[in-house]
Amino acid sequence: MNGMQNNNTKYSREEELLQINAAKADPARFAVLYDHYYKPIFLFIHHRIRDKQLSGDLTAQVFLKAMINLGKYRDQGHPFSSWLYRIASNEVNMYFRQSKRESDIEVKESDAVEMMEEINELYSEENCTLILEALAELPEELNVLIELRFMQKLSFLEIAGMYNITEANAKMKVYRALEKLKQKFNERRGRK
């Protein structure tokens, strides 16, 4: 699971905090943060929604909420992106609740391969199907963690920020989710 780096790390923490404080004082300065995080937030939403127009609308909604609530933002050592991802995640969940639409998530083949490597399984079409079925069978709080890490490619620090936990705790939660995934995978394989 090493080597996954989010593109937001190129923005230094000090720089980011300066931008946040500037935006708190003058909302027009929020434009810098908007420019920097627009793409990752759009892609985060589009990955779940799969509709360009709707993703655009929800992304706008996320940034509007972020702008309105920026005064309440407190630096707790997590990247600013975690806070935005948390808002985005809530918006997407609210959308699915209100529209009563089923959440169909497309998993890239390379992401499925990565998940299989993590649970020490070799790639095959059959294993791929099994792992996705096993993933769907996991409780929501566990499959969300796997999605964040392997499909959305968030760093452990960003996941920690979303859940307001430490980075070590986030790592532990992801590994536990993977253990459960492996268990479900083996159960499914045993049944076939």
């Binding site: 909302p27 027009a28 929020f30 434009a31 908007y34 420019d35 627009y38 793409k39 759009f42 892609l43 589009h46 799969r50 360009k52 127009q53 993703s55 655009g56 609308d57 992304t59 706008a60 940034f63 509007l64 702008m67 309105i68 089923e102 959440s103 169909d104 998530i105 497309e106 998993v107 890239k108 083949e109 390379s110 499925a112 791929c128 199907t129 996705l132 079925e133 993933l135 769907a136 929501e140 499959n143």
Partner: protein
């Protein structure tokens, strides 16, 4: 319950930067923000002229109430 579907690389819905940027508009966002957070109008009593008029109305009302 969620459904996960395998998506082969270079197939299915990919979104280009250009398509994404079509929805990016900070001035619209700022306008929405200004609309949502617009401060309410200054209350009448904070305007010295209106404050005087309000006091006058209250005094007149008291005067009339006392005479009745």
């Amino acid at each position: 319950m969620k459904k996960y579907k395998l998506h082969k690389e270079n197939s299915g819905q990919q979104i280009s930067d250009e398509e994404m940027m079509k929805y990016k508009d900070f001035s619209r966002l700022k306008h929405q923000y200004d609309t949502v957070t617009k401060r309410p109008k200054k209350p009448l009593y904070k305007n010295p002229y209106m404050f005087f008029v309000l006091v006058l109305i209250i005094l007149l009302a008291l005067l009339l109430a006392g005479e009745l």
